[in-house]
């Protein structure tokens, strides 16, 4: 087990190096940093001056050496927009996004698994139809618009919840609700098909012949075996909440990574973007590692080889 984790960590490190290298060359070769800062309409001599000042006129490999040294010591340079170290700026925003994604998944996953299981238990039932509708809605959801409509309803009309910002628990309800639509539908759908598969297996007959209660059979026996595809998708969905977070955090002014990404892009802040890519890549790697560990914990065939 420990060896497996160690091997995955080394692999992840390798992936991280490649990503950071690609990001560097994409920023320096595809785009010209000075032009990125000044905008496409900048005058040529302004560009020249800036290139000289930040050392962008040096050969790419020299720049890369400096960049790599910086990255190794956790220094991505100063944000062009805020003029302070980029990595701490990104890290500051991490907890808010983790909180939002965590609440979203904690709400969506159990509910989706319950709905999906019930739908598989009685295909064609109202719950089954509801799962269909939910997953269809999730797949068609215009997240920023749903967020705004929720604000219109709960904050503006009913005055129950704050429109935007962060603070008490009340602030997280609407953004998390908006963000959970997609994972709710997708996970419910996958749970349903995985559970349909499991519920047709002979061991379910055994459990029924043993006189177990249906609740125990469905949620205890079958669901434990259906976990593998559900966990895989849940990992993907957890990563995808970052997509939604960009939009939803903008709508609700939630001070997380997503909002910072939008600011970094609109302010053409290359060092900040590089730091953000690093943070996001680490998040993805950690999530995938967690999913892998959950697998081996859940599947005895993997655990005991």
């Amino acid at each position: 087990m420990a060896r497996y984790v160690a091997r995955r960590l080394v692999q992840s490190l390798f992936v991280l190096v490649i990503v950071l290298t690609l990001v560097f060359f994409a920023g320096r070769v595809i785009g010209n940093p000075a032009v990125l800062i000044l905008g496409p309409e900048a005058r040529a001599d302004d560009v020249k001056t800036l290139e000289k000042r930040f050392g962008y006129d040096q050969p790419p490999l020299v720049q890369f050496g400096r960049y790599a040294r910086g990255v190794l010591s956790g220094d991505f340079g100063n944000s062009w927009w805020q003029l302070r170290p980029a990595l701490p700026m990104a890290l500051e925003r991490l907890p808010a996004t983790l909180k939002l994604a965590g609440v979203t998944m904690l709400f969506a996953l159990p509910l989706a698994m319950l709905l999906g299981s019930l739908a598989a238990w009685r295909p064609g039932s109202p719950v089954d139809k509801a799962v269909n509708v939910i997953s269809l809605t999730g797949a068609s959801a215009v997240d920023f618009w749903i967020g705004l409509m929720l604000i219109l309803l709960f904050a503006v009309q009913l005055r129950l919840l704050p429109t935007s910002g962060s603070g008490s628990l009340k602030f997280i309800i609407l953004p998390a609700l908006t963000l959970s639509l997609r994972p709710l539908g997708r996970v419910a759908q996958v749970t349903r098909s995985a559970m349909l598969d499991q519920l047709s297996k002979p061991y379910i007959k055994t459990a029924r012949a043993k006189g177990f209660r249906e609740r125990k059979i469905v949620l205890g026996q079958a669901l434990k075996n259906a976990f593998i595809p559900i966990i895989t998708l849940s990992g993907d969905e957890a990563i995808s909440t970052l997509n939604g977070a960009v939009v939803v955090e903008t709508v609700f002014a939630w001070p997380g990574l997503g909002l910072l990404i939008v600011s970094a892009v609109t302010n053409r802040d290359l060092p900040l973007i590089e730091a953000l890519v690093f943070v996001v890549a680490v998040m993805i790697i950690v999530t995938n590692l967690l999913v892998d560990l959950t697998y081996s914990y859940l599947d005895p065939k993997v655990r005991f080889g």
Binding site: V142, L148, P202, Y203, K205, K210, V251, I273, N288
Partner: protein, 675 residues
Amino acid sequence: MTASNQMTAGDGPAVPDPLEAARGITARKLLRALWRDKLMLFPLIFLAALFVAAVGADFLAPHDPLDQNLRSRNLPPMSMSAAEAEGFRYILGADPLGRDLLSRLIHGARVSLAVGLASVLASGTLGVLLGLMAGYHRGWLDDLVMRGVDVLMGIPGLLLALFILFLVGTGFWNLVIVFALTRWMIYARVTRGLTLSFREQPFVEGAQTIGCSDSRIIFHHILPNLASPILVLATLEVAIVILAEAGLSFLGMGIQPPAPTWGRMVAEGRDYITSAPWLITFPGLAILLTALSLNLSSAWLRMVSDPVQRWRWFASPPEPGRATDAQIAPVYSGSIEMSEPAHTSAANGHHLLEVNDLRVNFRTPEGMLNAVNGISYTLDRGQTLAILGESGSGKTVSAEAVIGILDSPPAFVTGGSVHFDGVDLLQVKPARRRRLCGERIAMIFQDPLSALNPAYTVGSQIAAMFQEHRGTSKREATAKAIELMDRVRIPSAPERVNDYPHQFSGGMRQRVMIASAIALDPDLLIADEPTTALDVTIQAQIMELLAELQEETGMGLILITHDLGVVADVADKVAVMYAGQIVETGPIEEIYTRPAHPYTKGLLESVPRVDEKMESLQQISGAPPNLRLIPSGCPFHPRCAYVIDRCSDEPPPLYEVSQERSAACHRFEDLLHAN
């Protein structure tokens, strides 16, 4: 589906010929089927309207989408233009710059659809080409493409799109490039998978042998077969791209002003959410309805590209499930409403189990099947009954009906009674039956690996019996599980109690099944082909174990098998089943030596025996009947060596052969004398 699993392969539901179905489809039939299925009609109409709006925006839009009129700022829907001279209505209101919202929506459709279709065309072409090459040539190219797919699919797409747009700037073609680069993977994965499977198929191998070039094979033989899955996928992807484009537009990274886009219209209306909510409502609805319509259309395309489902969709009214449910509701369901009979009065309490005229039907798309057609038998404590028959004869289904674990739907008990110790199991409340089934009736199955839950240790699966039915603590239950494992002679039980089923051999797994079945000292054990999946030497051990346990506990035992040899030594009575009926029943020695039914005789002759010298093994000619087409008269007559004219007309009753024996054959006397 399950119906066909229960039966043998020979009598699965007949699949309609896809070619015949395809030939029958005309435009008129399509329209009529669509008209019936409104859920599919509306999305298609909406998409058609959207397409018309996008193409003809210049003519259809009531006003110039860019024409500002500051006196009409944020006018609500249906209000008149402030400039009296013009005098037109803002049907959906006006935006903060006094531009007509409806006209902007119509022009926005053009942007959404153009980006969506162009991007899907680009990403689809890229993905399909890469997938074709990877699947057809395999090797390093395949590795490279699939590695790329894995990596890119792990990255949140919108973030990647934002990063690329940050580098290359926005604009229509840049958006298309971004979507092509971030959305090709799913096509590549699907195409590669299909190509790999097509490669092995005769039509491709044939083309290779006659010397077709690779490109000809790829483009003439493989690509056409990819059309429908890729079309389904592409429809779904248009929805995804349109949603993503709207999101980027909302963030200010989409098509730049002045061209109106739905996403930016929502962003611009955001500041007026309290004073002019229609500004965000209409563009948002437009995006939502477009995505919803595309998703529904994709589901519809997937359905009609599957020949069987298409045939059903065209043939029957929508939601056939509901209609047929009502048509053939179970006649008899052992329902909760019925009053529980008194314990002893209804039944002749002296038998442990008394099955009377039990009938089980399968509901299939093609109609009802009689899987069990009125069988009756009795079993006493300490007795062993062997139910014998080929697969599809209804022996397993009848046992599952007794213990109440039929898959319904499609299987329903439609008649008869099952009295266990005086209680009619078909009439009692589910909770009561559940308690009886776990504690007093137990069942073991053919394949012990799939019958055990792979996710739990064997110990916990045995212990669960005590925890569930007796409320025993986990520790105590585990101790009892170890005792039971000892009792069924699993070596070193204390160490193995925490092992998982996959760590056991087949014979040991069946011992685990037996251990959990006898955990609560049941009065009746039903063993459904308990040794079929095992080696011959292990078979004998398991049978020995069952016989021993029966001796110790005095339980009744029902052995379901197709193998007379297995049960010869342990069974007291035999019931031979054919086509859902018992055709012969009686004490085993008598039947063994002097069968009174030609089918039993055939079964006996097909089993190698050590106690008699045999010239050769005989086979019963023909195959078991399709349950949908059970022959008239005696169901066995087409395969019978003793057939006479009467057999095809008159179904034989169960003739009493002797006091304890009966046989459903008009010529049972001839058979008895022949032996």
